[in-house]
């Protein structure tokens, strides 16, 4: 912490990068290790969501009619709006990464904040959908009282629906928190062509959130 407190502004207009840890030979080594660590973590995230997707396909095989009926009761408009919001937020995160890499910290700040705002929009739309489901009684397990789904297995669809979208929403909240932390550091002009790994890694996490939704959207809303 003492080292970061002593960091000075460079003539180019950004803070000096933090000292290179002694066990790395070069900046490139350090950046590669940080990136590799993040990709390993994302690999475990893929396997976490794998369980949810396998559950979806198993229950869909058991209860095809109720899954079809339940999908018709989800709002395709809201689902599509959420997909477009997440795709656009991924674009702004990728652009923020590009700007941070070029030392344009203020541009990166605004782009990241736009992504956070779109994440909040996503959660807002999700809250509207959840509220509707609560009022209809379209809920998991024993809480299910939705009379419009007559085929067996309706409560199971909503177990899958709430668990998958809930876990995804939790990831959106974590992603927004990470992006906000990175945005604050952009505002302090901490990033430069030699040090931008936090922006890149927070961005990678956000893209993973997008990847999961790319599969959830058609499986829940359209198929």
């Amino acid at each position: 912490m003492q080292a970061s407190a002593a960091r000075k502004m460079t003539p180019e207009g950004w803070l000096e990068p933090p000292p290179l840890p002694h066990h790395y030979d070069t900046v490139e080594n350090h950046q590669s290790a940080l990136r590799f660590g993040m990709w390993l973590f994302l690999g475990t995230e893929v396997l976490l969501f794998a369980g949810i997707f396998v559950g979806y396909f198993v229950f869909r095989t058991y209860f095809p009619e109720s899954f079809e009926q339940a999908a018709r009761h989800l709002s395709v408009k809201l689902g599509t709006a959420n997909t477009l919001l997440l795709l656009t937020s991924s674009l702004t995160v990728a652009l923020a990464h590009y700007n941070a890499e070029h030392g344009k910290n203020r541009n990166a700040f605004w782009l990241i904040m736009a992504s956070v705002a779109m994440g909040a929009g996503f959660l807002g739309i999700k809250a509207v959908e959840y509220t509707e489901k609560f009022h209809e009684g379209a809920l998991p397990g024993k809480f299910f009282t939705f009379s419009e789904i007559t085929a067996p297995g309706g409560p199971v669809f909503y177990v899958v629906y709430f668990f998958s979208t809930g876990l995804h929403a939790l990831h959106v909240i974590v992603g927004m928190s990470l992006l906000t932390w990175v945005a604050v550091r952009c505002w302090r002009k901490e990033f430069s062509p030699t040090y931008y790994a936090p922006v890149e890694n927070a961005g990678l996490y956000w893209h993973l959130v997008d990847l999961v939704w790319i599969f959830l959207y058609p499986l829940l809303y359209l198929v």
């Binding site: 994302l42 599509t80 007559t150 030699t194």
Partner: protein, 144 residues
């Protein structure tokens, strides 16, 4: 435990394979187009299996674009590609074997599992939600 600072000279090396903002915007436009294509396919008159196949194909294309361009795996280090592809392969392995099991189950002729008791609908508590009074042929195993 820091011994040296980031040498500014290394700055030039990092961005030799970066993706330009123009390409990022183009990628976003293609992804939005594919989203509408997914929606369009869902409105076509096809079998449920056809809908599922079309949705999964388009989603896989979208995910590939996000991973290669937004996540920079196209220009990234090979080791990161191995990590991601491996995790995806293990997802497919899990899905393949679980679904192979689920899709090929049959009633065992020598099963010792007794059949599920028949539920008398009149005995069901009032207010039992619809869809809860029946299950996925749960009593099949052991039925004669």
């Amino acid at each position: 435990m820091a011994s040296t600072t980031h040498p500014p000279a290394a700055a030039a090396a990092h961005s030799k394979h970066e993706t330009s903002p123009g390409k990022l915007v183009l990628n976003w436009a293609v992804l939005c187009g594919l989203t509408f294509a997914t929606f369009g396919f869902s409105q076509l008159n096809m079998s449920p299996g056809g809908h599922l196949a079309a949705a999964l194909c388009i989603s896989t294309i979208k995910v590939t674009l996000v991973v290669l361009i937004f996540m920079h795996l196209w220009h990234g280090e090979g080791v990161n590609r191995i990590v991601f592809v491996t995790s995806f392969v293990f997802l497919l392995v899990l899905m393949f074997f679980v679904m192979a099991d689920v899709e090929t189950r049959f009633t065992l002729s020598n099963s010792r599992i007794p059949p599920m008791p028949k539920i008398d609908q009149k005995m069901m508590p009032t207010g039992m939600p619809p869809g809860m009074s029946d299950g996925p042929s749960s009593g099949e195993a052991g039925q004669k």
